[in-house]
Amino acid sequence: MNKLGNQLREELSLINWTQRDQNAVLRRIQEGEDPMKNNSRRSIGLILAAALLVMTVSAIAASMLFTPRHDAGRLADDALLSQYGITPKMMTLFHRDIVENEDGSATVVYEALEPDVRQGQNPIGMYTVTVADGKATAAWTLEGQDTSGGLSAQAWGAEQLTLYVEDYANTRHFMRENGLLAEEYEIGAIPSYEDWLAQQETRQAEVLAAASISLADARQYAKAALVESYRMTETQQNLLYQLEGEYDQTTYDMLNGRPVIHLYYHLSQGEEWTEMDGIYVVTVNLQSGAVEEIIYDSGLAGNG
């Protein structure tokens, strides 16, 4: 890829930081400008609109509808926390899949996103939670294996996952220094981006044809669900945002025959990661408006 890098460098060399830019920064400092005040031109109207939105969201939250699938996901997460100490923050290391069984129960599977993190062995394993009659029971493929001994333990429990998520760079550095880190990952076949886009367009048309509620309503339900489920403060509600235009991450899906939309919300409360910061994927049923699933990804490691 050197050819690409060289050409990109050459083309971008037309854009240069000048003395004028430098002076502008120094002038703004002399004027005592707080860089964070740049958006101070937001009008009173905008602030009022935000306040109104918070009120509307709260009103919807009071009558929020969650499907059994959503409840199964929530109960399964709680079971992992109480049985194995797997916190919401660590969920960024897993892919969660909910299988709805015919008898009304659900099987929730948590697969490690980086099973090959350690040389020669998957230390994270897989968790399976069975949810039936409002009760959830979790099992781990590495049950009974020794989790003591830090990062070289036979199996990684909450202690190692905490390290990996909260001090990602140092943990990997330590693993590399001690010959524990798998340096090379296999990259699977890469589907063409255009193919994926085309597939999305077809699916979107199919889903929208089966929808009974508007996308605006779906967004309102999704936000209300987040507020309700995570007890978000007004400040957090105002900081919650969705990428739009070409950055829009919305996808459409058929979930066991039900048309759904996956809406991505981002929460960033400052320069440094703060509790609850991350990405929330809310799946809304486009026929009933009910929330089918919420996935939280702290974005701290592994799945950003």
Binding site: L14, Y168, Y193, E244
Partner: protein, 166 residues
Amino acid sequence: MQDERTHWLEMLMTTHGSAILRFCALQLKDVKLAEDAAQEVFLKAWKARDGFQGRSSERTWLYRIAINTCRDYQRTGWFRWVDRRITPEDLLHRGQEECRFDSLPVTQAVQTLPPKWRTAVYLRYCEGMKLADVASLQGVSQATVKRRLAKAAAMLREKLKGWYDE
């Protein structure tokens, strides 16, 4: 103390100004907006200097600020409220040759990539950063960065077919 701090900022801007500006331009696809964003990066650096603990290099630290700043700018409509502070002096200089992306085929192709892939491509191939540093800056694993780069490469090969085959 203030002089020392100002000197530090000037050194920072002289050393990293162009690289940060180019990164912002690649992300925001608008040179003027990129100038605003890059200036803001250095203002934030000035403000946060005491919090810089030297655990990463200054370059990595600046890119961390730049990634966040560009992400804020990319939020729909955010830049509509930005006070651009165009002064008469600026207007005089704005007449200088402007960069047009449509004459930069590779840059334009990279700009069509999703923002996270674009960031990875720039940091890895333009800045020559180690995979581990790019991963740390993007807050993801090296495997994720590799996947992003591989997907970006596949897409760019498609978009720049003639150029790659030259």
